[in-house]
């Protein structure tokens, strides 16, 4: 660990921000086209973020500010750990548990800040977000657990590298088809896409955790959302779709996967939060357990594969 690692880490953050924000802008256009609209400019998301950063803001006390900083700090640290096409700013720290739990620091910071505003909508939103997390994470973690058992590695980078070289057939989403479906459904839940977006429902609970943010706080939340999207999509991409051998392949796959979730989201209504929990604990959980048992007891898909 030397100064270069930190420089790389900072560059990763800048690159990820530009890439993901552009992609979000493009996806806003995709959503618009689904709704037969012309849609926003592709750089609209940048304008929105910079506009928010430019405005004045209101603060509800030190925890409101501290939580926002802690959230963005935790999320940015997680972004630095994500391996992108074999590149890691801090090699060897890409353990899947580290990534998924360091992500939780950011979420906790955001939840803390939101609840610290004293607004009941924010607390309701946080309660829903945490419930949603409990719903989607269990099936996903079971599949990831199976993968760690089968491949004897918990490093995201190594797991991604192991899938390369066989084309599509090497992808874990193909080797473990049920697990792949679970992962994509869980990705929708992670990203807060419809039908699992009840925690930020704008008309129902006034956008939940975001209710009191304005100005730079809101700008922070938008930046945080971009980073969080990157972490979540990258995690699924690396674990189930083989990451990418080159940076271009990675970006292409990433764009396809992310746009796919947007398209699904664009045609879906919204689940109530208890319906989301019921859904996740019925269909994806059953699929994840079946997948786990198949892989652990028969090795089908991992040990028995060509």
């Amino acid at each position: 660990m030397n100064a270069m690692n930190f420089v790389y880490g900072f560059l990763v953050l800048v690159a990820v921000f530009i890439f993901q924000t552009t992609l979000t802008g493009i996806n806003r256009k995709v959503t618009a086209r689904l709704q037969k609209r012309y849609g926003a400019r592709w750089y609209q998301q940048f304008l929105d973020i910079f506009k928010a950063m430019r405005k004045d803001s209101t603060s509800h006390g030190w925890v409101f500010d501290f939580g926002v900083i802690m959230a963005l700090g935790g999320i940015m640290a997680t972004v630095i750990f994500i391996p992108v096409a074999g590149f890691e700013a801090f090699p060897g720290l890409d353990n899947v548990f580290v990534i998924s739990y360091l992500l939780a620091v950011g979420m906790l910071g955001m939840a803390m800040s939101a609840a610290g505003s004293g607004n009941p909508w924010a607390s309701i939103g946080v309660a829903r977000a945490l419930t949603n997390m409990l719903a989607y994470d269990i099936p996903l973690m079971i599949v990831i657990f199976t993968m760690i058992f089968a491949f004897d590695s918990a490093s995201v980078g190594e797991l991604a590298a192991m899938q390369q070289g066989m084309g599509v057939l090497g992808w874990n989403a193909v080797r473990m088809p049920l697990g792949g479906i679970v992962a994509v459904i869980a990705l929708l839940g992670m990203l807060g896409k419809k039908p699992f977006d009840s925690f930020i429902a704008p008309a129902e609970i006034a956008s939940g955790p975001m209710v009191e943010y304005g100005g730079k706080h809101l700008g922070f939340m938008f930046i945080l959302h971009e980073f969080m999207t990157f972490i979540e999509v990258s995690l699924i991409l690396n674990l189930f779709f083989g990451g990418g051998a080159t940076i271009w392949e990675y970006m292409l796959k990433y764009a396809v996967l992310y746009t796919f979730t947007t398209i699904i989201s664009g045609v879906m209504p919204r689940f109530k939060i208890d319906q989301a929990v019921k859904y996740f604990y019925r269909v994806p959980l059953a699929m994840a357990v079946v997948q786990g048992l198949v892989v652990i007891f028969t090795g089908l898909g991992v040990k028995i594969w060509f």
Binding site: V98, S117, A154, D274, K278
Partner: protein
């Protein structure tokens, strides 16, 4: 100093504290601080004399690394909590008795961890159970004490039975030898194993014995709950440890049915651990009282510790042993933080408080860091130990237990966030406008525990080095440690670097935050209410039934306590029937039945012989 003399001094000091308290309550409280710190210092200095065997009359002691480790955990909880004692004396019914029993139970735990034979172990175990039962009684309800005592007694009696049974086979009480003699008879060994671990399960609050934790933790005096959760629950972990190391469970049950390489009896106990993680999590989510919530979280964390210890391998075992320390630190700090809030507001009900962060910021930070550790989020200690447990489970492919562990881990975000949001964040109630932060003396132990939690997360190898010694003494391969790194077969963890990168991210975010214009400060009541005017903070605070939509999904699930109540009602009914039939108020009737029963026994004896 030999252990016996040390314990004798502690008991004498305990008696002395009784008289000091009778003379002056506050001085008595400070006496417990002095004595427990003295005990902690003594035990810390005993690290050098590991391996010694001592005996005093019929008591036998042996100083082992694991005993030392457990004692340190226990005495940390005791000594840090004791700082609260002087300030709570006026709220106690029997302050002198409380101080006396506090120190006696502390001495008892030391004696138990350093016991060299089972009789010593059992004597000190019972000392702790009895003295703590009388302390719990001084809290909110007497019923809690009964529940605690009855469940402890079930475990204790089973353990005594196991010890005697083992003695009848192997002819010795010495911990190392008593169980190894059972290898020849697996049937007896199974009975001994299950009966022996029963007291550990009941103490750790493993399903179905978890009912005592919320009762006892929830209604014990606020100064004793941290000890119960941070310390005494870990006695069960010690029994679990003995059941798989002193009792060579993996070897004796080696021929039995194996599930994923784990012998069936051990797998069954792991399933109980997994079940208590799930039940503890689900129940904690729906509690309305902060202390009961934390008590259920102890149930869930007890499950992790049990699973980790029972794995008895390179990684998972280390995780379980380390989690014991991390949970003790975090849970003691969380209970102390709630006690500090209760000291100022007089309640632990979450819906009756709010916005305490604006009045008690240090207490808030203490609670925050302890729950981060409890939920297993980096960079706190709890993350490292849970990471090790997950790695161990993934290594073995124990799918269902891992699913429960993940459920408990994510579910813990839900329940630990609830007191944070309801008690510390949100609207500050009008009643609590003038509440002050607790004084330095109460803040000190909380801050120390918090710093220890952070240290355990950033430099986990300090604790893990002790754990490797324990692993070596238990005859298993120790977990591989590099300078700052923990290496497992599935990858490695460098907690220090994770912390540094987190600090790096935080620094960038902080700079980005302060370069932008300073924000306008507004009051808590100036929030978005759909433009409605609200004047009462209490109405604008969301804390009751926090996870209502989620709770609704399982509110019809059967309750274990109700099951016990039904059993107890059934027994009472049976007793009533017996009483009505055999003791109908007429002595002649009773004599008739006694004679009839005697005749039946006599005849039956004749027939079966």
């Amino acid at each position: 100093m030999s252990i016996a003399v040390f314990l004798a001094i502690l008991i004498i000091l305990a008696a002395a504290s009784f008289f000091v308290t009778a003379a002056n309550k506050k001085a008595g409280g400070f006496a417990t601080v002095a004595v427990s710190l003295f005990a902690l210092a003594m035990v810390l200095s005993m690290k050098g004399s590991v391996g010694g065997e001592q005996s005093f009359m019929y008591l036998g002691f042996s100083i082992t690394t694991v005993g030392w480790y457990f004692s340190v955990v226990m005495l940390t909880a005791y000594s840090m909590t004791s700082f609260f004692n002087p300030f709570w004396m006026k709220k106690m019914i029997y302050p002198a008795g409380y101080n006396f029993l506090y120190l006696v139970s502390m001495a008892g735990t030391i004696g138990m961890f350093f016991a060299g034979d089972f009789i010593t172990l059992f004597i000190f175990w019972e000392t702790v159970v009895w003295s703590s039962a009388f302390i719990i009684q001084q809290g909110k309800s007497r019923k809690a004490s009964y529940v605690y005592y009855v469940l402890s007694a079930v475990g204790s009696m089973a353990t005594l039975f196991a010890i005697m049974l083992a003695y009848s086979v192997s002819g010795t009480f010495v911990i190392r030898d008593a169980f190894t003699g059972l290898a020849g008879s697996p049937g007896t060994a199974l009975v001994v194993f299950l009966a022996f671990i029963l007291s550990g399960l009941s103490k750790m609050g493993i399903f179905p014995f978890h009912v005592w934790l919320p009762e006892a933790h929830g209604s014990a005096p606020h100064t004793f709950s941290p000890v119960l959760s941070g310390g005494l629950v870990k006695m069960g972990a010690f029994i679990a440890f003995l059941s798989v190391t002193a009792f060579p469970a993996y070897e004796i049950f080696g021929d039995m049915l194996k599930i994923m390489g784990i012998p069936a009896p051990i797998y069954f106990l792991m399933l109980l651990g997994a079940l208590s993680i799930i039940i503890g999590t689900l129940m904690a989510i729906k509690q309305e009282d902060a202390k009961r919530l934390l008590a259920y979280s102890s149930v869930a964390n007890g499950g992790y510790i049990l699973i980790g210890i029972l794995m008895l391998d390179q990684v998972g075992f280390a995780g379980g042993m380390m989690h014991l320390m991390n949970h003790a630190l975090a849970s003691a700090a969380a209970f102390l933080a709630i006690a500090a809030v209760a000291y100022r507001t007089g309640t632990t009900k979450m819906s009756e408080m709010g916005g305490m962060i604006h009045r008690m910021p240090v207490t808030y930070l203490v609670y925050l860091i302890s729950i981060i550790s409890m939920a297993g989020i980096p960079p706190m200690g709890g993350f490292v130990s849970k990471w090790l447990v997950f790695q161990g489970l993934a290594d073995k492919g124990l799918l269902f237990i891992a699913a429960a562990a993940f459920f408990g881990s994510i579910g813990s975000f839900m329940y630990v966030f609830r007191p944070l949001s309801a008690v510390f964040l949100g609207q500050l109630f009008t009643r609590d406008k003038d509440v002050r932060e607790v004084g330095f003396f109460m803040m000190f132990p909380m801050v120390v525990l918090t710093l220890l939690t952070l240290a355990a997360g950033v430099f986990p190898n300090i604790i893990l080095r002790v754990v490797t010694e324990i692993q070596k003494s238990a005859g298993i391969e120790p977990v591989t440690l590099a300078r700052n790194t923990i290496v497992t077969t599935n990858g490695f963890l460098d907690a220090f670097r994770v912390f540094i990168v987190f600090g790096f991210g935080f620094a960038i975010a902080f700079v980005l935050f302060i370069v932008r214009r300073k924000s306008r400060k507004v009051g808590l009541m100036d929030t978005y209410t759909s433009a409605e005017f609200i004047h009462t903070p209490e109405l604008l605070h969301y804390s009751h039934s926090f996870y209502a939509p989620f709770e609704r999904l399982y509110d019809k699930a059967p309750d274990t306590m109700n099951m016990y109540k039904k059993i107890s009602a059934g027994i009472a009914e049976l007793g009533g029937l017996v009483e009505a039939v055999f003791y109908g108020g007429k002595p002649a009737k009773t004599i008739f039945w006694i004679m009839a029963a005697g005749m039946v026994f006599f005849l039956a004896g004749g027939v079966f012989r």
